[in-house]
């Protein structure tokens, strides 16, 4: 590599900005996925949203994607490559893409970046994330009402704030619905391993759980529940409608489409600005999948009312009085949790018996 090459590399960004600015070109939108688009869960939903963007804008957009991108060095190259090919807006859809996204964004100041679930921004990098814990509250309520053994099983992935938040939210609302409820939690240490998830579900069922909540992405727990016969499950990330109406009685759906369409529009209009959003049920990023008839109508109405109260902002899933597991005070009567606490949540609420690993 000689001086000329160096100059060329340095000049790439500026050279491209002019090329991309040409009028009438379709807006080019890139997507970096951590898994295969056929995973039926996390990446599948992001890709569905990509297709929704294509449908909404027709000829005015061109979308490109790269699937199964490992986090780390390969991600940086994949993102750079999209920027080089003239993408105007790039969505990087996994937490592990945070540093690579920032690195590339510094080199391409004219390209806009949207990083999912991260916490660092730049003038041309936004972050977006969903308040899944709102959906968990609805699930928790239904779960508390549906359980007869008073044991709810929870398949968790990794002990990170996102997952811990979900457990707490589900637990608080399950206890509210049914004060005798207990949670059994299994950490699977994977987002996606169908065989292991099936084993985890079976283990929970065998230990008396008759409701299973999951924070892993495959439908394996549903199949295990179906086999057991009388166990309730909830769809995760996508609707998992093939297990309707029972065992799957409802679901949390990640619906990225409205946000993606919105942000592409902003780039087209030249109104895009860096922001940090955390959208919930209200904005449509968190959707509650159909509550089936397997749920008593009364419970269904309560669940829908809970959902409405969160959508309208009149109720926050973490409203005091709440204590931490160790008995120390957390939220006073009527106080709601700050986003900052929620984002770094590393404790269980009072009543949960297990310990968070590490």
């Amino acid at each position: 590599m000689n001086i000329k090459g160096l100059l060329a590399a340095a000049g790439l960004a500026t050279g491209l900005a002019t090329a991309a600015a040409a009028q009438d070109d379709p807006t080019k939108v890139g997507f970096i996925y951590v898994g295969p688009i056929g995973d039926g869960g996390w990446t599948y939903e992001h890709d569905k949203a990509r297709l929704a963007v294509e449908e909404h804008f027709g000829d005015k957009v061109e979308t490109v994607y790269q699937e199964s991108v490992p986090e780390g060095a390969d991600a940086e190259r994949a993102i750079t490559q999209m920027a080089l090919q003239g993408a105007d807006l790039i969505f990087t859809t996994s937490f592990g893409f945070m540093e690579p996204t920032l690195t590339v964004a510094r080199k391409f100041p004219d390209v806009k970046f949207e990083h999912a679930t991260g916490y660092k921004t730049l003038p041309n990098v936004s972050t977006y994330s969903a308040r899944f814990y709102e959906g968990r509250a609805v699930q928790g309520h239904i779960a508390g009402k549906m359980t007869e053994s008073d044991i709810i099983g929870y398949i968790a992935s990794y002990p990170i704030p996102e997952v811990i938040r979900g457990i707490n939210s589900a637990f608080v609302h399950a206890r509210e619905a049914n004060p005798d409820v207990e949670f059994k939690i299994i950490w699977a240490y994977t987002w996606f391993d169908p065989a292991k998830e099936a084993d985890a579900a079976t283990a929970l069922i065998e230990q008396g759980a008759d409701v299973i909540l999951q924070h892993t992405d495959s439908t394996a727990p549903h199949a295990a529940a179906e086999k057991a016969g009388d166990v309730v499950t909830f769809g995760q990330a996508s609707d998992m409608a093939e297990y309707k109406p029972f065992p799957r009685v409802s679901s949390i759906i990640d619906n990225w489409a409205p946000y993606y369409i919105d942000r592409v529009q902003a780039v087209m209009d030249g109104t895009w600005e860096s922001q940090q959003v955390w959208h919930g049920i209200d904005e449509g990023m968190v959707e509650i999948g159909e509550i089936t008839d397997a749920v008593p109508d009364e419970v269904k109405q309560e669940a829908l009312a809970l959902k409405e109260s969160m959508a309208s902002g009149e109720y926050h899933p973490f409203t005091g009085p709440l204590k931490k597991k160790d008995g120390s005070a957390w939220l006073a009567e009527g106080e709601t949790a700050s986003d900052e606490t929620l984002l770094g949540m590393d404790f269980y609420v009072e009543g949960l018996e297990a310990d968070i690993p590490q």
Partner: protein, 360 residues
């Protein structure tokens, strides 16, 4: 009927011709696959092989070839030495992980100390980590006669669990909002394996790979140890008479390959990857085995094979995002390339003769 006849010596002509033939065959077969998927086969194959080298943005991709190829070459060189001597270390992936852990561990332990010796210390720790991990199968083989293929493979799984434990536990970034993964070493200048010349992709791992290639070349050609390695592979019994001590050779070969794999892991974690994370390893240790064979266990060949693999990775990524080819198609394409390369090797070592069947 066709008969194979072993050549007294590998054919020089075929040594060069075979890889070319394999690449051509892959282009044809791969083109067919892409056509089946409804893509323009010519465009797809051209994107994979041409775009990274001479395309519009080659000035970005060419350095990336070095970044992607360096760990493959570094590990492949070490493995090649062992394979030549008939010592089968297939657990380089594990040694790569442990090297990254020990290397990064030193850096993270002294954080935020800003001193010139931090990085060299990490390099030494990385090499030692990989070496130590490889010493387990080596010592077990020497002491108990256990099979090193299997022990080194088992240790890959152990290393992967260790990596997960570290990323979630002791090495977790205290300022990382509770997410798994260590501090980012790219933001810790004293520990960062930065590019030596900006924009060239030349980080210390690339330099190390280059040194390793030269070192292996000289070793095999000029040094008594290299002679012992070659002799043990070709004629183990003769080697004993020539004074080769098998135990020492096992320790040396596994040690060298482990240390090189550990170095590769360390350079990767402190450079391109930046942090210890649960899925830090992406299979370089296994791919390097294939690279070693594609390079015919010859240092120069391994260097070329590493770059060829890097080319298909990077070209494949471009084809994915430009042409919308699924990642799976690229994976199959790489698989085909390996099949063909392995298959044509036949012509290097054997002569195909048309002969009447002899009744045995």
């Amino acid at each position: 009927m066709l008969r194979l006849e072993r050549r007294p010596q590998p054919s020089r002509l075929w040594t060069w011709l075979a890889p070319l033939l394999a690449v051509l065959a892959t282009m044809v077969a791969g083109g067919l696959l892409f056509a089946l998927l409804g893509k323009n086969p010519y465009e797809a194959v051209a994107t994979i092989f041409w775009e990274p080298l001479f395309g519009e943005f080659a000035s970005y991709y060419r350095p990336q070839l070095l970044v992607k190829g360096a760990p493959l070459v570094l590990i492949g060189i070490g493995l090649g030495l062992g394979f030549r001597a008939g010592i089968w270390n297939i657990g380089a992936e594990g040694q790569y992980i442990v090297g990254a852990l020990t290397g990064a561990g030193v850096g993270l332990a002294v954080y935020p100390l800003d001193a010139w010796f931090v990085f060299p210390l990490m390099v030494i720790a990385g090499a030692l980590g990989g070496w130590a991990w490889a010493m387990i199968p080596a010592l077990l083989k020497v002491r108990f006669g256990t099979n090193e293929i299997l022990v080194s493979l088992m240790l890959v799984y152990v290393a992967e669990e260790l990596l997960a434990a570290m990323a979630l536990g002791p090495m977790k970034n205290p300022e990382g909002m509770g997410f798994p993964g260590s501090r980012n070493l790219q933001q810790y200048p004293a520990a960062h394996n930065a590019e030596i010349l900006t924009g060239t992709g030349m980080h210390w791992g690339v330099v190390a790979a280059l040194i390793a290639v030269i070192f292996a070349y000289v070793l095999l050609g000029r040094h008594i140890l290299g002679y012992h390695i070659r002799l043990s592979g070709q004629a183990p019994r003769a080697a004993r008479f020539a004074g080769v001590r098998p135990a020492r050779l096992v320790l040396t070969c596994l040690g060298i390959s482990g240390a090189l794999a550990g170095l590769a892991g360390m350079f990767e974690v402190s450079g391109p990857a930046g942090q210890v994370s649960i899925d830090f390893n992406v299979g370089y240790g296994f791919t390097a085995i294939i690279v070693a064979f594609l390079g015919r266990l010859h240092p120069a060949g391994i260097a070329l094979a590493g770059l060829l693999m890097a080319l298909t990775y990077i070209g494949g990524e471009i084809a994915q995002s430009n042409l919308g080819l699924p990642a799976a198609a690229i994976q199959m394409f790489q698989g085909m390339l390996l099949f063909f390369l392995l298959a044509v090797d036949l012509f290097t070592n054997f002569r195909v003769r048309l002969r009447k069947t002899e009744v045995a």
